[in-house]
Symmetry: C2
């Protein structure tokens, strides 16, 4: 291991190249614009035409009128400035806001609901794979951090330290946990006596603190939320199986829930976290084609057990050090969802993680129509909720339907149901897909009959989920270039793409690539091409291809 970073971490900030944009915007990482700033006057025209129409194509026209008029929008076009677009979405969709302390973030209800959906899924999977939740204190004696040499080297530059407690200077500084391996091992040492106590498999949902200098909401904040799994095993093989099992849990989650086609693989020695025998990672391609490390799973070997004396007595009475793993996914994942699926209209959420899967917009012009429309909208809401969907009925009088269309598109709600007077008469609704803009995504005359409508909504949400994954996979695959020489690699990286090529060169060569191109080895993917390989850098035989990319 040549370079010691931190462990376990979801970032690799020592090597990270912040974009010019994020530097320009630092330290005010969120721009203070609000959807409230949509000029009401420019939407007035939309108001009229939207309110007057029901299940007709005029609404689609109206929608595109107000939607396409970009000077009304407060979201910077994605192609124009990816970072500004990202920050605009976070502010406008009310996902997060500044905390008063530099680099901290308040996670607002809509953003937190996405995190809750992530938690709900993973928490079940962790329990199914034999882990118990528990809670370790966040204050760690400074001496603990120093016990593992590479750990202190990786973390000491970014620690927050408590030096005063109860009005008095403390004898020993306390570290506000940046990760919990040290305190976990301190406790494991007391709980593990014999092989009967193994494996010990726990997880905690917690906040962690790292004094990051360049922050970006969700992606890198001074305090963030995560889960950290910690396990101890009797053999190396068991620990390895566990590390692999958990990266597989993350991979399945990314594909099936977040619709993010991550590439799972092993980190290079340079990028392996300090103390780990191996680090496994899932790497996601964002909309600007930069890589986001979205989850990691470490086989820690006996590094911490040796530093802390975490031993057990085996069947033969021998004292042995345990083999360990740790693995984590954090609120960073929310950033990954935004940057994978969002478009110029705003957020686009995968149905399985969306806090609101279906928004219902009632449309009326005459007061006579209002009651009928609202009653129909309300019963559609009830029937869909009963069928298990997450539904929002936006029946406020204060905004026009056109404004609401834009607003809920910007919030990334997968399906919109429109109900006007003609729909009420015909007992049907209009349904629009968030992922297909305009007329193409709009279907008229879907029956309000409960089982028909619920089945239709279920199908469409399934289609959207699959479509988001398909779209992201196409985008990913069209932006990975197979290279066989360093020159080809440089071209690919300079075009903003990922370069995949055989690699068996030295750590020094890897650092040279980083220095000269800004790209790092994201991973040696688990899925490897067949055939004989020749290292792109040295021409020597290579066993594996690596993926190089610039990253967050």
């Amino acid at each position: 291991m040549v370079v010691c970073l931190r462990l376990p971490s979801l970032t690799s900030s020592l090597f990270s190249s912040a974009t010019a944009n994020s530097l320009r915007r630092s330290p005010s990482f969120l721009r203070r614009r609000s959807i409230r700033q949509l000029p009401p006057s420019t939407l007035a025209a939309a108001r009229f035409s939207a309110q007057g129409t029901a299940a007709t194509e005029e609404r689609a026209d109206e929608k595109s009128k107000s939607g396409a008029n970009s000077q009304e929008r407060v979201i910077t076009p994605r192609s124009q400035d990816f970072n500004a677009w990202y920050l605009d979405i976070i502010a406008n969709a009310e996902l997060a806001d500044y905390g008063p302390v530099r680099g901290t973030m308040v996670i607002r209800p809509y953003g937190y609901a996405i995190w809750e959906a992530i938690q709900e899924y993973l928490n079940v999977k962790f329990k199914e794979t034999g882990h118990s939740n528990m809670y370790f204190p966040q204050f760690i004696p400074y001496s603990f951090i120093e016990k593992e040499a590479s750990h202190v080297e990786g973390f000491s530059p970014e620690l927050a330290l408590v030096t005063i407690g109860g009005g008095k200077e403390l004898e020993e500084k306390l570290v506000v946990r940046p990760t919990s391996e040290t305190i976990v091992n301190h406790m494991f040492t007391q709980w593990i006596h014999s092989y009967r106590d193994l494996p010990l498999m726990v997880n905690q949902w917690a906040n962690v603190t790292r004094w990051e200098m360049r922050t970006k909401p969700f992606v890198r904040t001074l305090e963030f939320l995560w889960q950290e799994g910690h396990t101890a095993h009797a053999t190396l093989e068991e620990a390895e199986n566990e590390a692999i099992q958990m990266i597989n849990v993350y991979t399945k989650f990314a594909y099936e829930q977040a619709a993010i086609p991550v590439i799972a693989g092993r980190k290079s020695r340079v990028e392996t976290f300090a103390g780990a025998s191996r680090t496994y990672t899932i790497e996601a391609m964002m909309g600007d084609r930069k890589a986001l490390q979205a989850g990691t799973s470490h086989n820690l070997g006996q590094n911490f057990s040796r530093a802390f004396g975490t031993q057990f007595t085996d069947e033969n009475g021998q004292r042995l050090h345990v083999w360990q793993t740790s693995w984590a996914v954090s609120t960073r994942f929310v950033g990954g969802i935004i940057m994978t699926h969002g478009d110029d209209a705003g957020l686009m959420l995968p149905p399985r993680l969306a806090p609101i899967q279906v928004v219902i917009i009632p449309i009326w012009k005459k007061d006579d129509d209002k009651t009928g429309v609202l009653n129909a909208a309300s019963s559609v809401k009830d029937l869909l909720q009963t069928a298990g969907f997450k539904v929002k009925l936006d029946d406020s009088d204060q905004r026009t339907p056109g404004w609401k269309f834009n607003f809920w598109e910007m919030k990334g709600v997968p399906l919109r149901i429109e109900i006007g007077p003609r729909d009420v008469s015909s007992g049907s609704v209009v349904i629009s897909r968030r992922d297909i803009p305009g007329k193409q995504g709009k279907v008229f005359g879907i029956s309000m009959e409960p089982s028909t409508l619920a089945a239709y909504v279920k199908d469409k949400l399934g289609e959207i989920q699959a479509s988001l994954l398909g779209h992201a996979t196409l985008f990913r695959d069209s932006n990975i270039v197979d290279v066989s020489s360093y020159d080809e690699l440089k071209v690919a990286i300079s075009q903003g793409k990922w370069a995949r090529g055989p690699w068996s060169a030295s750590d020094e060569d890897e650092l040279k690539v980083k220095e000269e191109t800004g790209a790092t080895i994201r991973c040696f993917p688990f899925e490897q091409p067949q055939g004989i390989k020749t290292c792109l850098m040295t021409g020597n035989p290579a066993e594996e291809v690596a993926i190089f990319a610039k990253s967050y």
Copy 2:
């Protein structure tokens, strides 16, 4: 308001009288005994007789043989030393352990699972009553704490301060949140503009830090977990209704889930938290008859909105300060459950919060019987799990049935199912209740037929839940004495009881009672007796009775 304490807090440590026991034991709040220390040799006799018997009364005898032999037990009898008993349960049932930093606690999986059950219930209720979860950063600029005069007075003695971040001395010290009113108001001020933004109703599940000098696991720790609700409203009336609504949610939770017959009421002025117009509380009587403040809900009035300038524009264009509430329940509640229901055998958990509701103990002597017994036990487990119960099958070879009986009783599991060879032959099981010791709680010959067994288990768990509440209510009511004079109050308190009597005396008189008896006004209960009342202290007319007690 005469005395300014903290807000919102689940403790009242400035006034709290630690028991002699807890002082003697401080700072090592957990004694390091382990169930592993049960001498295997003394259980050897039990092993034999236990393995040989099936659905016969001999098992009950065997059980009482190993169970009643107190020198084998590591749990101090409750009557002998309540505090030692409490700490023994926490250690032996593996609910919690010491953290390396004084006063911190590691919540172990079994203890954390109780907290998760509390969270699951309350989280649903919070959402049903219109609150959204979100997350505020834990680092608060020190200047925020100083903005509300009584807030800083109450909290500054027990703050943990971060003074170093990223290797540098910080310009402004950061407070590790002891509660979040200040940072919440800082953010609310940015989000609330008009009456349309109200009410704003949020909650967070978080860790908080208070530099307590006298700690006791769950009851008072340096860091603890809680939920804190924060709301802002347009009128005082709305805020008052919200504060009442949330103390009612807590009350219902305590009765129906935790089987703790709390007394809900209003705090006296002396005990009202700083900044609150009113504090509502639920007070629980522990097994030693001391009161535990188990949850609070504050009507904050405009105290924080004035300090932070949290204003809105009403329908008439006027700028007004919002009216606020906050409310909290913490991991302290786990301590309340232990101290309400536990007995000399250990923990006794209410079925609705028990991580394991039913434990199945297979019993065999001959190897020939083993497979049949284990198969039957396994299918009983499956059928009960399918029926929605939380079930544990303890099929380990390493312990005798007698040892397992004791162990799972000590862990507080409500129901035990025993299955031996004769049970397999007869297609039935033996079921024992945790809350009724010995033969009385044991029923033989319950059919293994799935719907019969599931219905039986459901009934029994319901009976146990009701029985725990009934038992605790009887205990509570037999230990509350109606008093009409200060002398009577002093007698009641000196007997360790709660005193209930009419009170309209001054804050000074209230403090005198505290000084002379160690008791404080726990609350003016919502449920008030009818009729004319005369203040027990002054003889003046009184509108309400108050409850006085010593407390944690």
